[in-house]
């Protein structure tokens, strides 16, 4: 609205959906530049909104803060090396897929146990039995 476009941290928070404490945290760890001040208060411009938005979206895609830092560097570093970005994304994608696979393994066991419990055909408790399995002798394969 204002011609200058300068906003305070609260407004930046509202526009990006990013918690105020988190914004200050990002600043502390150097993910966001030290902002100028209006008196004692931090003052942000249009480009700060963009940068924080970038960070937020990268976080939503599951990138770690270190990866976000790298992405920011690649995005701002003159000729943004798309190949490097691609590699970072591909490596992260691999990680995401592994986590999905892990969770799906858990999902199967849990769903089976709950189903077995609901069916009520087993003598004991299906989940406790699954967890107690191998208690006699836990030989690592």
């Amino acid at each position: 609205m204002a011609a200058s476009g300068a906003i305070q941290i609260g407004e930046l928070s509202r526009r990006t959906g990013c918690n105020i404490e988190t914004i200050r945290y990002y600043e502390r760890i150097g993910l966001l530049p030290t902002p100028s001040r209006r008196g004692r208060f931090r003052s942000y411009a249009r480009e700060d909104v963009a940068r924080l938005g970038f960070v937020r979206r990268a976080r939503e895609l599951g990138f770690t803060l270190d990866e976000v830092r790298a992405l920011l560097g690649l995005a701002n570093g003159g000729e943004s090396r798309c190949a490097d970005v691609r590699d970072l994304a591909a490596s992260h994608l691999k990680d995401v897929r592994e986590r999905i696979a892990d969770l799906e393994r858990m999902e199967r066991v849990l769903a089976d146990s709950v189903r077995a419990c609901d069916a009520g055909l087993e003598p004991g408790c299906p989940l406790l039995d699954a967890l107690g399995a191998g208690s006699r002798d836990a030989e690592a394969a």
Copy 2:
């Protein structure tokens, strides 16, 4: 091998696949009982192997340590209330499914970006474009 079956922490670690530091950590937070000592060294019995195995398997299913504590209580508390176990598992299952859904959302965007990059039909960098999208005005929907 020994008639008593008493083992040290290293052997417990080997049998359960659980790190020694982690075993001591579990003891500190009360997940495992304070073991007896042979001199200054912790001494474990068969049932400790079983209990730690239970904890490990529960962790592999993604239960938090607090949930594991609850499960241990339900398992050991006389008439183990299977219904309570079921509810805990069902609630955790819901959580696991939400996490899978989150990761799959990430997976889709990442895979699309990498694919678009490999295709090389776009002018800019697909991922950076996706992350920068909305930088002009980040309106929360």
